[in-house]
């Protein structure tokens, strides 16, 4: 351990929540890590970070997956002069065997700081802090052991998905399979940035959206169904008998007043035609209510955080798509590729798909990617009279044909 005092960070070793400072100190035998702690103490003194913008570093054949990082006071902190990050593509659903986890730890002990994020916000297992010299050997060893890098920069970012059918009764489709399939299909897009900006895909098995797909994915894939909520009448009676306030906690909170509870008969019914499949009643009575059987996904587009033109929530472009495992999700991939092609051709530098649609208009987007306008795409129609017509929608007059 360094003999430098770290009085500020020491304060964050106190308290009941697991301490990241203690985590860093567990790897302090590594001189790079030890100096990273000292540098962090300096940031706490100066109230600012001490990192510069990333330079171009990476591994052979890839343009993404490595974030270059350099200290801005290398003369004082030579061991963290280079402190690059590698993003390792996580297995779908973030499942690991203990041996797989140990394998990652062993590789990272050899090649880096021994610090990780499990996981980064996009979904990757983040290996935090190594030198330029170690990048290629580390990647080679990862690859030998069956790991690959995730995305960074202007490319397809690592897709991620919820726990899905592996451990959830609400999974409307196989989120893990779709995530794995898309990730493998689009390895080139993932590893070689060649787009206007980043593109994120997040996959949730139901409208509870446990991977926040609507808020942060350019393309949000969210499970839903077309038929009826399945009701186990006996289980409803058990909830009622247990004293649950079914009327107050379930029925009264239904956004479309599409369910009802007959207290005398202890009978719960759903008006499926008016149900919007929000998941509330199913969440409240999971033993009694289940998702339908004719399942697929709603496809939404455009979600992003604030930079640049405001935060957007993804909006509906396909109300229902039957995700077909057997043909390798051909319909989805066909749509995705048409979207990428239009975006790639039309977007400015660092323009996300949602911002491009905002600039060009939904009508152009729909026409270009071959989607029909549907009322499910909007909260309400426009209130202004400023709309365009396509030439073939108008009576065409020949030149000189004035009457």
């Amino acid at each position: 351990m360094s003999d430098k005092k770290r009085p500020l960070l020491d304060e964050l070793k106190k308290g009941p929540w697991p301490s990241f400072v203690k985590e860093m100190e567990k790897q302090a035998g590594n001189k790079m890590t030890e100096e990273a702690i000292d540098l962090l103490e300096r940031s706490y003194e100066d109230k600012m970070c001490h990192w510069k913008h990333g330079g171009i570093v990476g591994v052979r054949g890839y343009g993404g997956g490595v974030i270059g990082r350099y200290c801005d006071i290398p003369e004082e902190f030579p061991n963290v002069q280079e402190f690059h990050t590698m993003r390792v593509n996580q297995p779908s659903g973030w499942f690991y065997t203990s041996d797989a986890l140990r394998n990652l730890a062993d590789i990272w002990e050899k090649h880096g700081s021994g610090l990780t994020n499990m996981h980064g916000a996009t979904g990757d297992a983040v290996l935090l802090g190594t030198t330029t010299d170690h990048l290629q050997p580390c990647f080679d060893e990862l690859a030998e052991n069956g790991w690959d890098l995730g995305g960074s920069g202007s490319d397809l970012r690592t897709p991620s998905c919820c726990v899905g059918p592996a451990r959830c009764n609400n999974a409307c489709f196989d989120t893990l399979h779709l995530c794995h399939n898309l990730t493998n299909e689009y390895q080139d897009e993932l590893h070689r940035p060649m787009w206007p900006y980043k593109f994120k895909i997040k996959i949730s098995g139901c409208a509870n959206d446990c991977v926040s797909s609507i808020a942060r994915a350019d393309l949000s894939i969210i499970g839903t169904w077309r038929d009826s909520i399945r009701i186990d009448a006996e289980a409803v009676k058990e909830y009622a008998a247990s004293g649950m306030d079914i009327q107050g906690l379930v029925v009264d909170k239904c956004p479309t007043k599409a369910c009802a509870f007959d207290k005398e008969k202890a009978e719960f019914t759903v008006d499926d035609e008016n149900c919007v499949r929000c998941m509330h009643c199913i969440n409240k009575m999971p033993k009694a209510l289940r998702i339908g059987k004719d399942c697929g996904a709603t496809i939404l587009i455009g979600g992003k955080a604030t930079i640049v033109q405001s935060a957007f929530l993804s909006w509906v472009i396909v109300p229902f798509m039957k995700l077909n495992k057997e043909d390798g999700y051909a319909e989805l991939k066909d749509l995705l590729e048409r979207i990428w092609e239009w975006w790639d051709e039309n977007a400015k530098v660092r323009e996300r798909i949602g911002e491009l649609i905002y600039r060009k208009g939904m009508r152009t987007f729909l026409k270009e990617v071959g989607l029909e306008p549907k009322a499910q795409m909007v909260h309400h129609p426009r209130a202004n009279p400023y709309f365009f017509w396509w030439p073939d929608e108008l009576v065409q007059k020949e030149e000189g044909d004035e009457k």
């Binding site: 400072v21 052979r60 059918p165 592996a166 893990l176 609507i214």
Partner: protein, 357 residues
């Protein structure tokens, strides 16, 4: 042994990572129960039962801890575990007898069990000063300080509804914190300081200009650089992201803004953005006292006033934002009124409102 230079192999297949009980019941889960804070029980159509024990982590994890998790998974879970999107680690147990000993061991080793159902979940957050060049504040430090203060809420599940708190260390908002019950975000309050030589040498001027959401950046041909219109700049730092010579970090003026009332789930009402509650608290390491007490107050007023089942934003929607500011005893300022590009629909275009003191 595979040849070196192998690329594009993709991630390991998830099926290799799944425990037998999940392979046996994949897609067959019938329902689940919340046994107690941090423990879920999933029941399959086959009758199999799977117990999940969730423990919080600081996201920044050492490989020593990863090996510790692996050892625990070997001891209790036949060598299987998973992580959640909010930095928790979940141990998957097929034998109910092992649940309590597992919890005891996790707690003994300092990994708190909780965060399910109507608990406070773990705070999803960004890198901060440990690795990011554009951080306006640290991330792990403020998160640790807030979680220490709210620790009991992680361990108990009697909040009005679930509570998701998120943190981003600058407006890039990696992790998209903008739809959280409570979000705190590192912000700047002063315009970037332009290093003309650096801009000329290292930056693509058209990109710098295009990066500005308010059109505040103009070319400065004399210096082969740019200038910033002070009246238009909203300190987002996007120019700094594309050009390191537009330095926006200002330790004395940077700080954190706190937003409330967002959610991502579609349950009941649709997903919604968090809205500004407190425009600025100082960036005050190591324990961020002002931030912690502000967030504690925001949680406590919700706990005290919300009805059962109401997420933060649903509570505010019911009582109205004007009442929220009154109850929270927070000043309502010109900062709270939107003046960015989609502002007008946020103005109150009705005479229906409540009077406040």
């Amino acid at each position: 042994m595979v040849a070196k230079g192998r690329t594009d192999i993709g991630p390991p297949h998830y099926e290799e990572m799944l425990p037998q009980i999940i392979k046996d019941n994949y897609g067959k889960w019938k329902y689940f129960e919340r046994i107690k804070p941090g423990v879920l029980k999933h029941v399959s159509e086959t009758g199999d039962e799977l117990y999940t024990v969730r423990a919080g982590s600081p996201r920044l994890l050492s490989i020593t801890s990863l090996r510790e998790f692996a050892d625990i998974a070997d001891k209790y879970c036949n060598g299987h575990l998973r992580f959640t999107s909010r930095h928790n680690v979940e141990f998957l147990v097929d034998d109910p007898e092992k649940v309590e000993p597992l919890i005891a061991e996790l707690e003994e080793r300092g990994w708190p069990v909780g965060g399910t159902g109507n608990c406070l979940n773990n705070i999803i957050h960004t890198q901060g000063w440990i690795h990011c060049h554009s951080a306006a504040t640290d991330a792990s430090g403020p998160v640790k300080a807030v979680m220490d203060e709210l620790f009991d809420y992680f361990k108990t599940d009697d909040l009005p509804a679930k509570l998701k708190i998120s943190m981003a260390c600058c407006l890039n908002m990696c992790g998209a914190v903008h739809c959280s019950d409570i979000a705190f975000v590192g912000i700047h309050r002063t315009i970037p300081k332009i290093d003309d030589e650096g801009v000329a040498k290292n930056c693509e001027i058209p990109n710098v200009i295009a990066a500005c959401p308010t059109g505040a950046i103009r070319p400065n041909p004399k210096a082969k650089s740019v200038s910033v219109n002070e009246e238009k700049c909203m300190y987002c730092g996007n120019c700094y992201t594309v050009c390191p010579s537009m330095k926006i970090i200002d330790p004395e003026n940077d700080g954190l803004a706190i937003f409330v009332g967002g959610k991502v789930s579609n349950a009941r009402s649709g997903p919604s953005f968090s809205r500004l509650a407190i425009p600025w608290v100082p960036n005050n390491p190591p324990r961020w006292d002002e931030l912690v007490s502000a967030i504690k107050n925001l949680v406590e007023i919700w706990v005290k006033n919300a009805k059962k089942g109401e997420r933060y934003g649903e509570w505010i929607e019911r009582i109205g934002w004007e009442k929220f500011f009154e109850i929270a005893e927070l000043p309502f300022t010109d900062k709270h009124i939107d003046d960015f590009i989609f502002s007008v629909p946020t103005f109150r275009t009705t005479t229906n409102f409540k009077y406040t003191k």
